[in-house]
Symmetry: C2
Subunit: 338 residues, 2 copies
DNA sequence: CTGAAAGCGCTTACAG
DNA sequence: CTGAAAGCGCTTACAG
């Protein structure tokens, strides 16, 4: 009310002086730590409420050696742009972080490049980090482990210091494949991206599991990984068609989009001539005709869990070293029997 | 080399003591500010290089009342998920910020909700902010202006304190509309999203401009804004078809995707029965058959410029109050003449 | 060109 | 239950 300008921020010292108590007391009233009389506490709290005092987080940071920031690392690979995955996940992270008064420091870089991550770590700008994607040989995870800073990974990793939060891609892919096998498909092609992604390996394993469980020999010749290149993909799709596949599982919707495009170009009809299934159930394929059978995951939940576990680690609370979230199989026109 | 563990970080005081100089001198050697002998500076720089000293940014922050963070606000509206726009833009921001040793503090919230933004501002966690989307009555921009913190907007705004960086949606939409008019289309429908977005208004203006310039009466009855609801949109598309439109311009690719879906459902062929054009040229429609005529913008560039200008403002350098970036019109099958 | 000292705004043993 | 004082690791007038 009486405050004329916002130039000068009120500090803990101002409050202490105004109330005739020590800074220690004010600090304790605010933080809730340490013994303090209920009456004194009330008095302080009322005062700061009225004069809307807000603590200087930077000063707090310095005194406590904490930043109240968590780093979030997004890989800058081109295909990422296409997937709404990261955005949904980020929403979840932010939602949890905000309730704990933490903020998100965003970093984007290539997975082999640890420099951005090193920067925020050596600059002491974060208390922990979340890696949004894991790799088979994960430089970033290793670096964080070596430096001893708490971190969570979205996706599995063999770096044991990590707090892992993952969707069950293996079971998901296994169930999808099993269903397709039960639908009497014999030659099911699997098309995937970078083999260095842990998630690619998990899906492959699920695919193989399904065959094993059904006692059907795996169609090894129909497994195509590393299909990040559209030209290469087109070429391999032709190969797949020649080999007489009756179904193609794509490991993500962007990939599946490219597959569908190629099939159209080749005048191969879905699902009449060949069945198609995908991962993610994202908006990328939302408008496709026919509708596409897909595996669906809750990405926001994934972000929330990762953030919550990381916060627990930062605050030395109990944590789950590894959490696995569920999935849904959504059957649609693209795998309909003739 | 000799360092056995990373537990204890080396400080400016350690360096000073080891070298027999004052902390002031060390500080000056590092920052480059203030007079200092070339020889002394060398000595200090060599030492910190060798012992890989890294400054504590938090301490620096407190002393300078600077955070070396910029806040980036992403609106949490559902349709955002679909557009790769923000991700590309973020890449650009990060690229510039990193070179200046700044980091990105990410915030996500509803446009009417200023609480998240207030939090990072009152917590003094950022030196400036970038708003990734503007609104006709922009609460967040107004709040930042009132608080006197430097900010840039991606998109236009009437809040004069803002540093505006925008794509020329008005000219883009005008040129697209003009081309369609020249192609002898008479009844061009315009379908757009939220009228409260500044960008929606700009596109509308461009559309109207084109008619005016061509001395053709505007097809007012074919303008449909606020089409964020799929059910509503479907209904309006039927209306548009009944009214005999020969073309539909959609204000973004997600919207256009829904339009195309509805047209397919109604067995209306593109481009034979009706032409279609869109904005953004994003991956969302990449695989559509026919290919879709679209306006294309350089989103990464947009982020880079916004970030650069904001940094200049923060460091009290000269700034451009408003920057407008170009666009491309990409003509494809969806507007081909019969 | 260099340094002693105060200051940024908090927290936290330690003592009472 | 409360406080004086030291400390977090920098920067920056001020003086020499």
């Amino acid at each position: 009310m009486v405050q004329e300008n916002t130039v000068k921020n009120i500090t803990i010292a101002d409050v202490a002086e105004a109330l005739g108590v020590s800074k220690t007391t004010v600090s304790r009233a605010i933080s809730g730590k340490g013994r303090i009389g209920a009456e004194t506490r009330e008095k302080v709290l009322d005062y700061i409420e009225e004069h809307n005092y807000t603590p200087n987080v930077i000063a707090k940071s310095l005194a406590q050696s904490k930043t109240y920031n968590i780093g979030v690392m997004i890989p800058s690979e081109y295909d990422i742009i296409d997937l709404p995955f990261f955005q949904s996940c980020l929403f979840g992270i932010q939602e949890i972080a905000a309730t704990m008064d933490y903020d998100i420091l965003l970093t984007i870089s290539k997975p082999e490049d640890t420099s951005q991550l090193e920067r925020i770590v050596t600059n002491r700008k974060v208390d922990g980090v979340i890696l949004m994607r894991t790799f088979v040989d994960d430089k970033q995870a290793k670096m964080l482990a070596k430096r001893g800073i708490p971190f969570a990974t979205v996706g599995g990793t063999n770096v044991k210091e990590a707090i892992q939060v993952d969707q069950d891609h293996q079971s998901a892919c296994k169930e999808l494949t099993s269903i397709l096998l039960m639908k009497k498909m014999k030659r099911i092609a699997l098309v995937g991206g970078d083999e260095k992604h842990v998630v690619t390996q998990k899906r492959l394993k699920g695919y193989l599991d399904a065959f094993k469980e059904a006692h059907i020999p795996v169609t090894e010749d129909l497994i195509y990984l590393g299909m990040n290149n559209p030209v290469l993909l087109d070429q391999k799709i032709e190969e797949i068609l020649k080999k007489g596949a009756d179904c193609i599982i794509s490991m993500d919707d962007a990939l599946c989009g490219s597959v569908l495009k190629k099939l159209r170009a080749e005048h191969v009809k879905v699902p009449q001539d060949i069945k198609v299934a995908s991962f993610y159930n994202s908006s990328v394929l939302e408008n496709n005709v026919p509708s596409i059978t897909s595996l669906s995951f809750d990405e926001k939940e994934l972000g929330m869990v990762a953030c919550r576990e990381l916060m627990n680690a930062i605050e030395d609370k109990e944590i789950n070293r590894a959490t696995t979230l569920g999935y849904q199989v959504i059957l649609r026109e693209s795998t309909l029997q003739a």
